[in-house]
Symmetry: C2
């Protein structure tokens, strides 16, 4: 953290996004790339990604002739979910009931796509720095015919911990962090936010239910309300950290679904990861490059320092406080 | 690849870097942060990083009280290696004998630090987009008291393959790619460059010796000359791809050293990885974000398409051709 920084600084994103732009394919009433016209939606809006990375009918590459050249078809669907009809809001600037509608939509799409696919990945890329190409508040949902790499690793580790210690890894982990306190960012009746012991991004956080919950659709109405409120607080703190619309990628990891749904998933605890790139300011990010790509991730500040800074930040958004 | 791109575009780096800047701590004769004055070096120059991420005397965190909270001291040293006395050159613009001096310096530093440490990670972050904060041509060398994550994974996979198939994974892999040809970029008497079957970055490549070699110091003079020449060709193609000084992170992976050096490393094949971020142009990069961070890497073009594009590019640098 003491190194002088003469390297790349990021553009500050335009602060004035028009509330409605008929040429933005994510807006109500706009025409999308495939010619369809969006409804005049008032809450969330889910539609098929016009440029999907996964397709339901991807052909099989056929049998392989060598152990080092193994490939399999990756089948699936890609959806986009708008959070709100306005382009000039983000989750922390939305009301708790509006965020609750997003939580409900996440639970529904997990049920809908999880009926067919073993993995439903909900993720949000927020901000140009995180590859987001449209400022309209939205996330993506990619459902696949296979368990992706990260899901497989979480599956393996959670299963091994349960069989060795007789309880779910992340339930015990949350309990420990509540006792230790030094990495906690926010707690509420039903949820915890903490900077995990293993965090690699400077202000990475983990969002965990206190109760053992396998998947989003299992959340009770009270847990959903409480989740909406703690998300608003976390994302407000994030924005307040550098007084900017804080970029991140986030996503949910629940137990596998589809044909896997019937198996025993007692070892799996639902959780969300937040991976924000900023390190020192609104324009100086952490680069995960050379040593990180070739050897091992290394942090520039400790998880405890990050948690302390996030804890100290106000829960009122800097843009609302100024009014 | 068909998605319209309205997202982040990168700054084009300044094309005019002064050849010598007395205020640049990497230049010959400059004063560094610790007050030391650099010699008037004429070839390569190795010195201790003034802001090291690893230190030889990092204290032990002490015993842990819980299986989920395990930490160990990461001890080591961080060095910086300048490739050339001039700030306005890059490896592809250096002569083959100048690159050969870099190869020799890599071999020497591996021997020197490898006498004490089990892992010596040589890596280059090239370009502001890859977190490089100084345009002077240089790389870094971080030696550690432990095998980093990626080294452990490569160790596990190479060992398993050898015990199952009786030969080193990457020796057989190189042989197969020579037969299959579709992912080859360059071949020479002693080396291969290819876009690996498992590549995740758009124009990622793997540099492999044809012979079974465990570590850089084992390379013969002829292999070192040939390496310098194939590196110049590869990096020239990279610069020619989008007519820009092509950013990347690269690094070498040789068999472990230090107290591990005496073990049997027959399964380990020396290799270098190149991870360049650009996707569509000099300013539009691949973002490894949401789905990639939370689920699995996904490519926007196939390795075979990337190899074909790289193969077709001239081996004369666009800046020299213009003269
Ligand atoms: O050591 P540098 O050049 O200051 O820093 C660069 O390389 C390091 C090692 O890959 C990274 O951890 C830093 O994020 C990056 O900016
Ligand atoms: O789908 P989008 O928003 O066009 O694209 C973005 O998210 C994808 C999924 O994380 C990434 O593969 C792309 O690199 C990124 O630009």
């Amino acid at each position: 953290m003491k190194r002088p920084w003469q390297g790349q600084v990021e553009h500050q994103p335009l602060t004035t996004v028009p509330r409605h732009d008929p040429h933005n394919p994510l807006c109500p009433g706009a025409t999308r790339a495939n010619g369809e016209v969006n409804p005049d939606y008032e809450g969330t809006f889910l539609f098929d990604n016009d440029f999907p990375a996964l397709q339901p009918d991807a052909p099989s590459p056929g049998p392989s002739d060598h152990p080092l050249f193994q490939a399999e078809a990756a089948q699936g669907v890609c959806k986009v979910m708008c959070f709100h009809p306005w382009s000039d809001v983000t989750l922390p600037l939305m009301s708790v009931p509006e965020i609750r509608a997003v939580v409900d939509a996440w639970a529904s799409v997990t049920e809908e796509l999880g009926a067919q696919y073993p993995w439903v990945q909900i993720f949000e890329n927020k901000g140009a720095m995180m590859g987001c190409s449209n400022p309209h508040p939205h996330c993506q949902v990619w459902a696949s015919s296979f368990l992706p790499d990260v899901a497989q690793r979480e599956e393996r580790c959670q299963r091994a911990y349960q069989s060795q210690h007789g309880e779910p890894l992340l339930v015990e982990y949350g309990r420990q962090e509540l006792l230790r306190k030094e990495r906690l960012v926010l707690t509420s009746e039903h949820w915890l936010v903490l900077v995990p012991f293993w965090a690699v991004w400077p202000f990475q956080t983990l969002l965990l239910p206190r109760r053992h919950v396998r998947r989003l659709p299992e959340l009770t109405p009270a847990e959903r309300d409480d989740l909406s409120s703690i998300m608003k607080k976390l994302l407000t703190k994030y924005d307040n950290l550098f007084e900017t619309s804080f970029p991140y990628s986030m996503g949910w990891h629940g137990a596998p679904t589809g044909s896997e749904a019937g198996a025993n998933w007692d070892h799996w605890q639902l959780h969300a990861h937040y991976y924000p790139p900023l390190l020192r300011s609104a324009t100086v990010r952490k680069f995960m490059v050379g040593y990180e790509m070739l050897a091992q991730a290394q942090r520039d500040l400790t998880p405890e320092q990050a948690a302390e800074r996030l804890r100290a930040l106000p829960e009122v958004h800097y843009r609302l406080g100024q009014k």
